[in-house]
């Protein structure tokens, strides 16, 4: 069943006097439970595509449909509310709040949902346990290694139990060992919890973990052999 559908998506923006169009009439369907790797050279529009699915960017033309809902023209606030429950986002640079502990970072999106303090604590601890960092709950980001920071960021992304996990170069700032840990974690989320995962990467080793790979180049999406 299709969970994410992009219909004739175009995105162009001005840079100085020239108009750049990284996406030009792109169609994409992602099934529920898929693990999709989006590959392509820098500036090919991979991240833009991911941001459109997350509702943090808007297409110049075309439609973004997620779980049957056309989110293309939703207001910023409506998208934010929807994203809290439906989408977990993992950044290349982790983007944890430096002044909050691992526990508090994971708790941040949960504060937006109506739930008791006890329930919230339970969900934070479950997420931290899932990424194997229960013993680091009270640590601040500066007290963690890069790999640990990214695992906390993944715990934050799954804390609200969203259907979709989007990851933009999640291993881009990690050494090979930490990258493997992070990818195994994402594979587990996909295989065991049934999360639909879309990951942007230009690393072939990373894309090897995905069940489906797409190449984006010159505004066109091409299916790569799995």
């Amino acid at each position: 069943m299709t969970l994410i559908a992009l219909e004739k998506i175009s995105k162009s923006y001005k840079k100085g006097d020239t108009t750049i169009t990284p996406l030009d009439g792109v169609d994409l369907e992602v099934d529920e439970g898929a693990f999709l790797a989006l590959m392509g050279p820098s500036g090919s529009g991979k991240s833009t595509l991911l941001n459109l699915v997350a509702g943090i960017d808007r297409p110049s033309a075309g439609k973004v449909i997620v779980a049957g809902q056309d989110i293309t023209r939703w207001s910023e606030d409506r998208l934010a509310d929807w994203r809290t429950r439906a989408v977990g986002y993992v950044f290349q640079q982790f983007n944890l709040m430096p002044v909050l502990t691992a526990f508090e970072n994971v708790e941040l999106p949960l504060l937006l949902l109506p739930m008791s303090r006890a329930q919230r604590k339970k969900q934070v601890l479950t997420a931290l346990e899932l990424v194997g960092l229960l013993d680091r709950a009270g640590h601040y980001p500066r007290q963690l290694s890069g790999g640990q920071e990214q695992r906390v960021a993944i715990a934050r992304a799954v804390a609200t139990d969203p259907q979709i996990i989007l990851a933009d170069e999640p291993t881009g700032n990690l050494d090979r060992e930490s990258a493997t840990e992070v990818m195994n974690l994402l594979v587990g989320l996909n295989a065991e919890l049934g999360k639909t995962i879309v990951i942007v990467t230009h690393d072939a080793l990373v894309s090897a973990y995905a069940s489906r790979k797409l190449h984006l180049d010159k505004g066109e999406l091409v299916e790569a052999s799995a």
């Binding site: 910023e76 986002y89 709040m97 002044v99 508090e104 504060l111 937006l112």
Partner: protein
């Protein structure tokens, strides 16, 4: 939809040097504003409070001030004959150099009669000793030592000071809180006339039984063509003197405004760096599902907290000024810092916090999520 407060508080603690500097600069602006207001209020209110509503002050015609007034003894007799007022006090008022232990200081001396002094000046009371009688005696006001810039022991009972070619012995000490009388030296009026080789008085004070009687006397004096004097309510006399200090108030206001502007710029500068440095954090919070206004509100709150902390420090320091004496030629005044001034100071701090954060907040408010994340 609110961000947890600990996020803001820890952000402030994390940048402790910058936070401390901002709090300090806001505190300085608030403290100086309080000082300005306390100074102008002290001066104006002390002057105004010196006059009693039941007193009428009679000066020579055309004279605006006791220092420039001369009332002849004959007029004093006429005034004593006016019906309805139990107390009449002919006074001599001089500003002169007083030698204390060989050092000359400028002081203010009021000559009056011991029998009527406290009846006329009902805001004064004797603290120790007695009021001066004939024989070159003095009673000193509670702030006279401050006014003259000498140690209180130099003006203790039994000590002697010299002025107008005479040696005067201190026999008493009085207080008249929050009035300019508090910094005066009182002597017997006839001794003052003798020492200054004058035959006329500076002013005559009439104490009436109520405000209506005071009005009646003013009216009666205005009709008398045989007594050519300038009479007015004592309140009005000191009110005019207080109004003469209004320009000082304007200066205080302008300085306060400049300090506030400085505070706003300091706050704005800090918030600008703080908010600009956290544009990406804002982007992340938006991605997590926080609404833009909640994030911006939290930044505003942070600025407000910082400025209120500065306000509290400034107010605490400002409160220490309350009651401190300050010297001007006319007398000694005390700084007045009351609840109203402190409330205004805190409101000012809040204003600086909000306005200071507004510009940087409005700047990031327009950024798209993607642009904020790229920062």
């Amino acid at each position: 939809m609110k961000l947890p407060l600990r996020y803001n508080l820890r952000s402030l603690v994390e940048r402790k040097t910058r936070t401390a500097m901002t709090i300090l600069s806001i505190a300085t602006a608030i403290f100086l504003s309080i000082m300005m207001v306390a100074l102008s209020r002290g001066l104006v209110e002390t002057t105004r409070a010196t006059g009693s509503p039941l007193n009428v002050i009679v000066l020579s015609q055309g004279a605006e001030s006791m220092e420039f007034s001369a009332i002849d003894a004959e007029i004093v007799h006429h005034l004593q004959a006016l019906s309805g007022q139990p107390l009449v006090s002919a006074q001599a008022y001089i500003s002169t150099f007083v030698a204390i232990g060989g050092v000359e200081k400028r002081g203010v001396v009021r000559g009056l009669h011991a029998t009527t002094a406290l009846g006329i000046h009902d805001n004064a009371r004797l603290l120790e000793g007695r009021l001066p009688n004939r024989g070159f005696e003095l009673a000193v006001g509670n702030l006279a030592a401050t006014k003259l810039g000498v140690a209180p022991s130099a003006l203790a009972i039994g000590q002697a000071v010299d002025f107008e070619g005479q040696s005067w012995t201190i026999v008493g000490r009085f207080e008249a809180p929050n009035t300019i009388l508090d910094s005066e030296l009182w002597a017997d009026v006839d001794d003052i006339l003798l020492a200054t080789k004058r035959s006329d008085y500076s002013a005559v004070m009439l104490r009436t039984k109520d405000a209506k009687a005071a009005g009646d006397i003013l009216f009666a004096l205005a009709l008398r063509t045989d007594i050519r004097v300038g009479a007015r309510a004592e309140r009005e006399y000191y009110g005019v003197k207080a109004r003469a200090m209004e320009p000082l108030r304007s200066v205080a206001l302008v300085m306060t405004l400049m300090l506030v502007l400085g505070g706003i710029l300091a706050g704005m500068n800090t918030m600008f760096t703080s908010i600009s440095g956290r544009t990406r954090e804002m982007g992340v919070l938006l991605v997590l599902g926080y609404h833009r206004r909640a994030v911006l509100f939290s930044f505003m709150l942070e600025s407000l907290a910082m400025c209120l902390a500065g306000g509290l420090v400034g107010c605490t320091a400002g409160l220490l000024l309350n009651g401190l004496p300050m010297k001007i030629p006319m007398g000694v005044f005390r700084f007045v810092v009351d609840a109203q001034t402190l409330a205004m100071a805190m409101a000012l701090a809040a204003f600086i916090g909000i306005v200071g954060a507004l510009v940087p907040v409005l700047r990031v408010a327009r950024l798209s999520v993607v642009a904020a994340l790229r920062d």
